[in-house]
Amino acid sequence: MADALPLLRVREVSKSFGAVAAVRDVSFDLYGGEAHALVGENGAGKSTIVKMLAGVHRPDTGSIELDGTGQDLGTPADAKAAGIAVIYQEPTLFPDLSVAENIAMGRQPLGRFKTIDRAAMVRQAAQLFARLGVSIDPNRPARGLSIADQQLVEIAKALSADARVVVMDEPTAALTGVEVERLFAVARSLRDDGAALMFISHRFEEITALCERVTIMRDGRHVSTDLLTDITVDEMVRKMVGRDLGALFPKQDVAAGAVALKVRGLSRDPVFKDVSFDVRAGEIVALAGLVGSGRSEVVQSIFGVDPRDTGTVEVVGKTLKPGSPKQAMAAGVALVPEDRRQQGLLMELSIERNVTLPRSRSLSQLGFLTGNRERREAKEWTQKLKTKYGRLSDNVGTLSGGNQQKVVLAKWLATNPKVLIVDEPTRGIDVGTKAEVHRLMSSLAADGVAVLMVSSELPEVLGMADRVLVMREGRLVAELDRSEATEESVMFAATGQEATL
């Protein structure tokens, strides 16, 4: 099925930022009609490779060849012109412009006097959506589209450009199972039309489902490129990490204590309705369901950053006021939010300020902060979590994703919570850190913390949780014990139909 000659060759490219070498002498080939996976831990250099292909970064040395001719991809426009389309993890649409215009930007069909032919533009968008089998109104603004729909618009963009190389950087991170299937169907048809696909993901089941070949990177270097038929998942993990891992999901058994978090009749129109459940001390309860089923909204409403219409939340017997994170924190609730960059961290502030922000009031003496106590506290907690950083005064934005997540965890563990809510605790972090996070959650539960975990990764849910609560379209539809919870039972509850995975 693959052509004999590579469509795109990456040859010994290197790229440094200041003193840090992000990518060193990496080479691999992409073939037309083939899907190629690129895997590696966070900080392995995958994103830099993507940005070089996208024309955002120019390689310091080495070359990128298309059809055997060297390309100088100095700007995104160059990459576009060369037929390379990149779909980023976070969609990059123009919220104020119409969907049709988003797709056609820079390639709008022209009519008389080089004016834009709007009718033709809308027609093209509608044709693309028909080909993708989706119904999005080309005339609506991009603002307000769900993440999945935004990804589809991004794919339509790539289609409209007749891209020969399509790079997808973790496109599935925010998608549900059905949406992933839809995306894969489209990706396969692109591949079958002769395009070369490059697919980046942390989920091995997706890689095996879609790709023919896999390139593994570690610490900015190329480790290996193999046919997926020649390599097992375990081998891949070993190559990525460079060492063997312990059990991925080490939940210890703990006898559940008293009810720590009690939620009754929580509703917020139109996001979720009548949600009731308990979490006991020492328990890890997973909140599963498709993206968009209202899980994150429920936990944000419990914590008080989102409002709620009706319902009560009790923490160790104390009723929480709606809409007040401050009071929730005082009662012993901590929330590690879904979106690390936007919600979890202040990227431009220092590590110490981030760690101690929620506790700045309790660390103050007579209302004043001199900085010493904050520094001590930040040092203590970052060390406990084995966070790697240069100085505490460095911007948290300079850390890798995994270490950033550790800072978020440190920040909340420092508040000594009775109820710890974690929303997608391991999204976008590498395998090694993932295991550390899991171990940490498990030991917290063992110390009597009630843990409520929102996760889209089924293995994580099944491995970690004592109980699984499943949400569908804003309602709690199932509660499964550890013994009852399987991939099938959870997916069945989440989708309301037989799982197709």
């Binding site: 200041g18 914590f303 950053v305 994170p325 401050k326 929730a328 924190m329 929330l335 939010p337 936007q342 919600q343 979890g344 961290l345 202040l346 990227m347 431009e348 502030l349 300020r353 101690t356 922000l357 929620p358 700045s360 009031r361 103050s364 209302g367 004043f368 902060l369 001199t370 900085g371 920040k411």
Partner: protein
């Protein structure tokens, strides 16, 4: 690049330190080369001249650190002055008028705060709106007339100095408020919240900070201090007028940015801002004493303003390559 070199560069890239150094150098050069710049009388004039900018720049720093802006300060000053004149003409006791003007300032600030935090409107647009609105109301209150004859006890205090020393009385107000705002910004949980809101409002909210509340009270503080500046302005010139302080907002914003506060929020320090205010004020004073025209000052202000952001940016770029 060697280690020492990069240390020097990073020192320079810290604009806060740079601006303080520049200010000190300018003060020394001016004192040495401009006749009568260093006299105690001139020091008094200098302090009085930069009084309103110094006061208003304090809350403005905090507002800009949260990523917002308040362009209505000069109009609040004007309205406070106009109301002061109106009430004085209506034969109200000055001891009632002054607290009322401060209260008025706080209320005007609260109006800004309401539009920005409760309705969620962009502060640039809101405060351009209230800039026109408050100034307009000042003219409605007092028209084009001027009210004078404020009690000499008060006007003398404002223009006077601490018994026998060359230290102007109003310097006490500046110093006290600068310490208050400095401590709030750099050494209290409120200050941490201010920086957090400026760095990312959403993340701050997820850390239990109430951005709306923080910003609202900052606007109230901004209004209150502008009201105070209006009172002091009126007493200094013994003249309440609707156009008092017109255009001051740009000078204040310029001083704050010159002091190294990022217009995008999340970064800045009060000592730098004080240095920025002193730098602009003393440059103006020294140039005027040297018979250099106002125009030169305009150009210098503009260039410094751009340089305050451009300089560190260029240094960073050089360092990267």
């Amino acid at each position: 690049m060697s280690a020492t070199e990069s240390a020097v560069v990073s020192r320079f890239a810290n604009w806060n330190a740079a601006i303080i150094a520049i200010t000190v150098i300018v003060l020394i050069v001016a004192a040495a080369s401009v006749d009568s710049f260093g006299t105690s009388q001139n020091f008094g004039f200098l302090v009085l001249d930069l009084l309103p900018i110094a006061l208003v720049a304090l809350p403005m720093t905090l507002v800009i650190v949260t990523g917002e802006i308040d362009l209505s300060v000069a109009s609040t000053l004007g309205l406070s002055s106009a109301v002061m004149g109106y009430l004085w003409n209506a034969n109200q006791p000055i001891e009632t008028i002054i607290p009322l003007c401060l209260l008025l300032g706080a209320v005007l600030g609260a109006v800004n705060g309401f539009f920005v935090t409760v309705l969620g409107l962009p502060s640039l647009a809101v405060t351009i709106g209230t800039l026109a609105l408050y100034r307009g109301l000042a003219f409605v209150v007092l028209g084009d007339s001027a009210v004078a004859d404020f009690p000499t006890v008060y006007t003398d205090w404002v223009t006077g100095s601490i018994g026998g020393t060359p230290i102007p009385n109003v310097l006490i107000i500046i110093v006290v408020l600068a310490i208050v705002f400095g401590v709030i910004l750099h050494a209290t949980p409120i200050g941490r919240a201010v920086f957090a809101v400026g760095a990312s409002e959403q993340a701050a909210r997820f850390a239990g900070v109430r951005p709306g509340r923080v910003k609202f009270w900052l606007y109230v503080a901004s209004g209150l201090i502008s009201g105070l500046a209006g009172v002091l302005w009126t007493l200094r010139y013994s003249s309440a007028r609707a156009d008092n302080g017109a255009g001051l907002e740009l000078a204040v914003v310029a001083a704050v940015l010159l002091g190294g506060v990022s217009i995008f929020g999340g970064k800045g320090a009060l000592p730098g801002v004080i240095a920025g205010v002193v730098l602009l004020g003393s440059l103006q004073n020294a140039l005027r004493l040297s018979d250099v025209s106002n125009e030169a000052l305009n150009v210098v202000t503009g260039v410094l303003l751009i340089a305050s952001v451009l300089g560190p940016n260029l240094v960073n770029r050089l360092r990267r390559t």
